[in-house]
Symmetry: C2
Subunit: 564 residues, 2 copies
């Protein structure tokens, strides 16, 4: 056994229990994660504590992320933290004519290693990322603008969970067919026909990950690990404002691949210079056979229409709706919604945007509430939640880019402001742009209001849309999901009939529904192994995280059969 | 329990053992089929014997296939048997503006029935088709031109196997996620977060099956049953020359759906008038969200490029290659190849076309054989196989349409004829066009020869391509699969090194490989539950029959979660 084979064997032994638990959990959909989400869980057994992670991050600033990639022809990078500081980190810029062929060179050995070895290597990568969670948390914070705790959790263990989930699905999909099979067909009195068959999962080719600004790891890991685990090389093209978390990821991937005897070029980074726009060029390369993308509908649609040589998995814009019909926990509903609207300044693809509230008001456990009362009470709940600046900073984070701020500033012009946005100062980062959410009242029956609420206004902007009835809300919900897509739908109702109706709309229009959330689970949060992120069946995304469809077409099975 | 629910319950009880065995066999890839492939196995337990099947077929001639579909605005049909007679059968012509909405009406109840009930209904449909196998065999024979025995087996039990295989994959895919799950996340000293989650597989919308001329049932059933089992209505658009087998299929689907309490409009027929070309129109309808197609590369590419609202599964043209390097069973190789070239007059998407033979000859157990000897011996093997007219008729069937005859007639102009095509008379059907295969010698190094062998020449035409070496053969194989696609690759070699090389080419270019077949299994035949038909990874097809990728994106999973 070679040292590399020995190493792979050890990795399988080390990680098989976690893989098995992941496989079990994607079937049971119960709660589970191998990656602790408490900051104090880190600092022992080789993992970095918070101060160590901070120090590691600080050491990166002003330097180069060395990757030793073929075809490096320049060093690029211009990230500025949404909290103010320039990162001054540079990354290798690649000549795709050199890099892409080099990435394909290791495909054969990676294919021949088999699904279990690939899963074990992926799990080792995730384990090393996990050990550096506090370092990644700083990198995510200072590229996405997330507050530290969110960057730590969503950018750390929760992203790692989604990566592991993808590995589990990829592994399960590949081992549905055995490596070998005997086939013996009776022929009456004659000898049976006998064949020996071998089945080999083969990757499709280079997989291109086009990262996003807000959740570089959380939205990036599923595609990266699904493709790598199914025998494809992965080229990581980060958002120019959020390179660092993915560059560190690539560095760890390359390190683990090399150590376990594989070609490190199976994972590479494609950083770009200012305004270079290399995603379009890379997406059309013939070597690129898979693309994962999170971002605008415009570019997602362009990829789907033009990158025809590739399987394209997109998460695009959507308009998330909450139907407010009635509740038996008015206070809980307000608190839950207030948190959902505030978390990360509403800069989540899952944040509710349109709150559909009957003009005649709703029934609650606190008595009937008029439309105005609901809106006022919700505004007060948000104000209460964010009344303390320290808490507001911890929840809101910073606005990720000037586009969000522009939309926030323009929102008061769209209608009557029910909740005005406030500036919050951040003592630690005085240059951070921190704002509380704005909520605007709109009349759902007015055509000019539709221009506002019937498209995505990404950021801390929500619309309290007055509708004629719950039935009208459901009609609008259906039309919104069908035409604009939705990552999430929420509904509050005590009526069995309305429950059935809203479920029917979500089933028919293919949207994920959260009903009557009043506690510590929010419509904008999904848990790996249990919740699907998106449905893949409405215009907001053509894939869900994570299911069989997300992995099954990333490889094909080649059969070799012979007599005997 | 309603009568319909009772009926579904009974169907589940009746068919669950077969479903379970299918689920087990797609994992083991061993030999299995619930549908007998011996003609005499039929005639008892409600199934039709051969004479009964013939009588049932005869009774259809000159009549209408009544389907009682909404939107029927005409009766159309002009099938002429490749064996001579006009069928004079007419079918309902549909107004899609009426039919398509009617097909969607039953989707909710079909979805709510659940995966197991859908599988059971599909298996009942297949069981009823199976009982009428001899009737279907005549319908397939007189639309495809297959000889009776082949129409019986490939159009009967083997097609039913592929349908069942698709149902098994569809069922397995849907039950990967449970119907319900409890989720409890610990919160330290606080109460855990608890959610109840429901998961519902939902269909995508109307699935359009565009049938082919040569294998209306075998190539049609996988898509039909995969879509129906995953909660989609299916609109069946047969090839205008091969309507009857699919019209009967639709009739049985509607009958079983109605009897088990579902809307019969979940399956409907879209027959067309002469030259109407409705496939293009239907493929672009917004209701159509899935398309299965078998046919020309030109139209397959058009569908993939234009039917962007749908998931498109295509099987198109390819160029199948056999690499002849060496053999330890020369006689067996010749006999095996002769059969492969002759079966159904080479009118199979899996029939070898290019036989790559080293110019310097090959080593065999019968001593070295020159290129010319191999070609001459293979020609003699074909002649021997087809020397008896009765046997020739039983193997060849009839040419399916004038296009095939044109290509056959033109083939001698492409190079030196090594094996001339002969006319065979068919005493039972004097008007049938029955021809033995032609084999043409080509020099693989001559650019003008490439024009012939480097494109699909569908029908009983093969090329004995002289190549400089086995290495040159492998290069040409690679280029052919990469640029033209292939449903099958064959190779004969006694060399371990060549075996590895040809395997590498097939793994890298994603083609299904049969090695050293010398007995009763042929490169152009695949067995359901065990062999994949196509790989989905080269230009001949974007999907394989049948794997997870074939079913996983035909539905999406909608989650409904609530506290508690």
């Amino acid at each position: 056994m070679t040292a590399a084979a020995q190493s792979v064997h050890e990795l399988i032994e080390k990680h098989r229990p976690v893989l098995d638990q992941a496989l079990e959990t994607i079937r049971s959909r119960a709660y589970w994660s191998p990656y602790p989400e408490h900051p104090k869980a880190y600092g022992e057994n080789g993992s970095l504590s918070l101060p160590e992670g901070k120090a590691a991050f600080d050491a990166l600033l002003g330097g180069r992320v060395e990757l030793d990639q073929p075809g490096t022809d320049d060093w690029v990078g211009g990230e500025v933290s949404p909290y103010g500081p320039k990162l001054n980190v540079t990354y290798p810029h690649a000549d795709p004519d050199v890099l892409l062929p080099a990435m394909r060179a290791g495909m054969g050995a990676w294919r021949d290693a088999g699904a279990e070895a690939r899963a074990a290597v992926c799990l080792e990568i995730l384990a090393r990322i996990n050990a550096r969670t506090h370092e990644f948390a700083h990198a995510v914070m200072h590229t996405s603008g997330q507050a530290y705790m969110m960057a730590f959790q969503a950018g750390g263990p929760h992203a790692q969970d989604r990566g592991l989930e993808a590995v589990a699905y990829a592994y399960a999909e590949q081992v549905r067919t055995p490596d070998e099979a005997g086939w013996s067909k009776p022929q009456g009195k004659r000898d049976p026909l006998e064949l020996h068959k071998a089945f080999v999962p083969v990757g499709r080719g280079v997989s291109l990950l086009i990262g996003c600004n807000t959740f570089p790891t959380w939205n990036g890991y599923p595609g990266l690990f699904a493709s790598l685990a199914t025998a494809n090389p992965v080229l990581v093209k980060p958002h120019p404002r959020a390179v660092l978390p993915l560059a560190l990821t690539v560095q760890i991937c390359r390190e683990v691949l090399a150590e376990s005897g594989f070609d490190p070029n199976l994972v590479a980074l494609a950083a770009e210079g200012a305004g270079e726009g290399i995603a379009k060029t890379l997406a059309l390369r013939p070597e690129v056979r898979l693309i994962d993308y999170t971002g605008s509908t415009e570019f997602g649609d362009w990829l789907e229409a033009n990158a025809r040589q590739a399987q394209v998995y997109t998460e695009k814009a959507g308009v998330n709706t909450v139907v407010v019909d009635s509740t038996d926990n008015y206070k809980g509903m307000l608190a839950n919604l207030a948190f959902s609207l505030s978390l990360y300044s509403g800069q989540m693809c899952t944040t509710p945007q349109n709150l559909l509230i009957p003009r005649a008001g709703i029934d609650t456990d606190a008595g009937p509430k008029s439309y105005d009362e609901v809106v006022t009470d919700l505004a007060a709940a948000v104000d209460g939640l964010l009344g303390d600046d320290a808490r507001a900073n911890a929840l809101l984070g910073a606005l990720v880019n000037p586009g969000v701020k522009q939309r926030l500033d323009a929102a008061p012009g769209l209608g009557e402001v029910a909740l005005a946005s406030r500036e919050i100062s951040n003592p630690e980062f005085p240059d951070a742009v921190v704002r509380t959410p704005v909520m605007v009242k709109l009349d759902g029956t007015k055509p000019d209001a539709e221009a506002a609420y019937f498209s995505e206004c990404f950021g801390p902007v929500s619309f309290a849309v007055a509708v004629d009835s719950t039935e009208a809300a459901l009609d609008l919900l259906r039309r919104t999901v069908r035409e604009k897509g939705a990552m999430t739908v929420g509904a509050y109702t005590t009526s069995a009939e309305v429950t059935t109706s809203v479920q029917d709309v979500c089933l028919e229009e293919c949207a994920q529904l959260s009903l009557n959330l009043t506690g510590g689970v929010y419509v904008n949060q999904t848990a790996a192994f249990s919740d699907f992120h998106g449905s893949g069946g409405n215009p907001a995304a053509n894939a869900a995280l994570c299911d069989g469809a997300f992995v099954s077409n990333r490889f094909r099975v080649v059969e070799i059969r012979r007599e005997g």
